[in-house]
Symmetry: C4
Amino acid sequence: MSDQPERLPPGIANAIDYERLAPQVLPQGHHAYIAGGSGDDVTLRANRAAFGRWAIVPRLLRDVRGGHSRLTLGGMALAHPFLLAPVAHGRLAHPQAERATARAAQATGTCLVASTLTSTTLEEIAASAGPSRCFQLYLQENRIHTLDLLRRAETAGYHAIVLTLDAHLQLPSRSALASGFVMPRECIAANLASYPQSSVPAPALDAGESRIFQGAMRHAPTWDDLRWLMQSTRLPVWAKGVAHPDDARRLQDAGAAGLIVSNHGGRGLDGSPATLATLPGVRAAVALGVAHMIQLLTEELHATMAQAGCATLADITPDHLTAALPC
Amino acid sequence: MSDQPERLPPGIANAIDYERLAPQVLPQGHHAYIAGGSGDDVTLRANRAAFGRWAIVPRLLRDVRGGHSRLTLGGMALAHPFLLAPVAHGRLAHPQAERATARAAQATGTCLVASTLTSTTLEEIAASAGPSRCFQLYLQENRIHTLDLLRRAETAGYHAIVLTLDAHLQLPSRSALASGFVMPRECIAANLASYPQSSVPAPALDAGESRIFQGAMRHAPTWDDLRWLMQSTRLPVWAKGVAHPDDARRLQDAGAAGLIVSNHGGRGLDGSPATLATLPGVRAAVALGVAHMIQLLTEELHATMAQAGCATLADITPDHLTAALPC
Amino acid sequence: MSDQPERLPPGIANAIDYERLAPQVLPQGHHAYIAGGSGDDVTLRANRAAFGRWAIVPRLLRDVRGGHSRLTLGGMALAHPFLLAPVAHGRLAHPQAERATARAAQATGTCLVASTLTSTTLEEIAASAGPSRCFQLYLQENRIHTLDLLRRAETAGYHAIVLTLDAHLQLPSRSALASGFVMPRECIAANLASYPQSSVPAPALDAGESRIFQGAMRHAPTWDDLRWLMQSTRLPVWAKGVAHPDDARRLQDAGAAGLIVSNHGGRGLDGSPATLATLPGVRAAVALGVAHMIQLLTEELHATMAQAGCATLADITPDHLTAALPC
Amino acid sequence: MSDQPERLPPGIANAIDYERLAPQVLPQGHHAYIAGGSGDDVTLRANRAAFGRWAIVPRLLRDVRGGHSRLTLGGMALAHPFLLAPVAHGRLAHPQAERATARAAQATGTCLVASTLTSTTLEEIAASAGPSRCFQLYLQENRIHTLDLLRRAETAGYHAIVLTLDAHLQLPSRSALASGFVMPRECIAANLASYPQSSVPAPALDAGESRIFQGAMRHAPTWDDLRWLMQSTRLPVWAKGVAHPDDARRLQDAGAAGLIVSNHGGRGLDGSPATLATLPGVRAAVALGVAHMIQLLTEELHATMAQAGCATLADITPDHLTAALPC
């Protein structure tokens, strides 16, 4: 792994330090929006707290000199099992956030998952990224637009479609609301800029109709949409947002190439259960930081593996975990 | 659902915001009395904390476009399962509190349960309320007065009698005591104003007699009183304050038309177990707020149902709940 | 129960208010010594927190008009099951503390347990107390002195000997140490004032001997001492400080007339388990307060019994308790 | 046990008071480094909190007048079961820290475990220490240096080799990092000063190689190293850092003379489980304090044994422990 860049922010020793630095470089409202979850942030807090329930049992005297954290995932050769989760509106953090993040992913052998709602087009991101990249898809109201996004992702060399299933309805967090945050006008979804707005305005609701069911959810994806999507692309489709084992089984039967257990980082249904499998959101403000953070995460992984006596990812077993006693 | 009124207080995004606004519009003592429970508020806190023990599991790809939260309860067609719990002394919050609350209930298809101890007569409330309304009854020392209340409730078109069973003895909360709150003279129980005070003063207690057992509890309702009540009215009688399964069974056998699991919102026996089934008390100061709060609660319900993949109340099953891990 | 005295301190609504008043009327060091436990006060805190693990299930519609909390205990007719635990050095709180407490016990039908280490003699306390009184005994180094204490307690009409078994070694709490508290010279153990100090000074410890085992514990009571004590008095002997079921069985077999589960109010071994059975220490500064506190405790008991649907102590069953959910 | 020295710091009543005194006598960075663990100090906090999960059940009326805490451990006669854990860089606390600690151990019959990384040579420490002493060994990159350390420890009369197995990789705590602490130049590892630095510089890492696995861990001890070590010394070898029962069994089979369950005081893998068996680190600044702290710990042990009714260490059984209820 190459030397660290020279112009890193001072005082960064662990990956989590970038999160603590964020309020210093972001406007308050931007930070509240990015750092918040939804509602009262119950799920956001639960996501982190869940890690406190487990402890790692060190094993002794094992030879870990040949150790590494390499793996192959969906046909992609990765240096480590950390993926960069899709993040909307990167411009909120920095005008170059998404291109810089893509370069950082390339430099560190990291798989990048580009969001439908990036401030930079998927083609521009692909030009900066390394070979390991996926495209996160939100189904569009107009299937012609969805098909166009699929064609573009295929052409730009994305390896897979990551279909988000659990966040058609995103309620802001109370802390973001309290900050008075509104999305800046310059934060457009670059991928969708060329598609005309729907010529059919949202229908007025009749008395007794629901702003949720007959409003926001009228275009939420269904099992039929998933089948149509899989028939419409040659790329494998991963399902993101899985929480219930029955849904997991049905998605597998339906042909999903991968399942991502996630609660949208606590930004979906507040009150949904914690997941241990979601990566911390990408919150750093500058490109050096992204590469550095991935490097730090990888070294923290290597250090933990080494101390736990695991030379490769395959050496990590449930036997290394024990319940942490409540304090 | 109609547009929101124009003059809502600012900064209200969730139903709970109304509770946080309350100290700004109420005198301190009034707020302490309304917001407090009893004793050290142990049960009051437990009521809320109990919700933290459960998480809702999102389900994916279900078609919820026809979703709603309508239900029929006790013959009443309701837009949602939130009822307005009986609240005594509405004048403490606002001179028009009870009439405005009744109009809000009508506007939002909500069932109103009017308290025996309102500052407005049950007839006045009925004139403002929609068709879905019940009358909460405290048994009076003089059965003639109780019978008169029943006749008046029947005449005023109430659908059911909600008999409160668990709050004959209400000890104030320590925080309300510390605030120096005393009930203002203008807060009279309008429904009872026409009944003469008992001509028999409370008997002096002999040595060894108890201010509780031989004092406050000497007119508390018994199973005999419940039988008499049911024979004395053509309205169905719901029992409010049920906590023990044996009592629930016996009340059902005795012919109660409904059971309301409740600990009087933490205002009865401090130290009794939490209930998940009690609605947050009505604490907002103005009428717009009541309708708005019900609207917000309904939309929060719709949003949660939609994210959980439930199109109707009947779709909600225990399978959607999982224990939240302690943090 | 008679009217409340006129000169009670203001702001007292619950028994626990007396505890919160104590720092206002006691010198800081005195309060730290009285309110503290031992060591880091772990057991002291656990004693109180243990109550939070239980909730009381209200029962409905029971006829409790004949309710009371009377009981017979060890041949004594008591108005309620609260006993006044033995407290040493009452003069720390007030010069008249022990006589006033005795009068309060008499006025409220309360059993008083007088400590060996009171600032007032057991004869003076007996003169103020009602018929329900016990004498708490610490075994003296010289058995002649112990025998004399027994004779005096028998003569003064105490009903039972309460032998403290778990507090021969009492380490002060760190908070009391930090306050700089030292026992004032005027706080003498009045009962022991007539006994000459041991003519044999404490033996110097050899190298390797322990200030605990060969020092403080060299006169701690043993099973032989208990047997000797029982043969030496016609009064029943209750054992105080029981924590382990095996000790409880052995004490019962040995003829103990009563067992008091206690950890010396958290003033013995810090780190011993919580008990639910110990009464809050007597901390109020004036006599009115003692009677008032007992009256408040009794009314709180009656209110809880009434709300729980229990007319007598015999009606209280385990079915009224349920585990409080952790919050 | 001899009288306490005259010049102890004021306000010291319990062993833990020395820890609270430490920030007053140490530079902030030194204290942060000494008091911190690793990472976010999760394991450091868990180590202490784990004690809160257990309570000690007092037993009554046992004769403990012959009580003591003596034991024989690895052929060493000890006055109590507290050993002084190996501590690196004693000069950080005081220039005489290690010699003074050795004298304190001698005065109190305490076993001293001298670290490889002391600021004073093992020979100088041996000259100040009593007969109960062990040498903590970190395997050196060059086996010739390890062999020399073994010869020196044998010659200096150490009783056993304590081989640390779990701390080849030590990441600093975030609090120490935040304090800006860097090891002062005068804090050299005196035992290693005579060994030439490795003439072979650390190899440059190829792309894809890990700073952890191919870097810091390339000389971490393996089972082969343990076998070699045992064949290379006539001293018994104790294994320090055991956490997993399988490792414990394998170490026993391999001939380890003792097993020390430890997580390096929370300074190794942050997130590893709590141990109850590690002694609080030696943090006091002056020699009087060390002896005094050991004396205090011993008396606290004696007091707990006495109150629990245990005359000797052999009397302590699992029956004396009970789970402390969560509060």
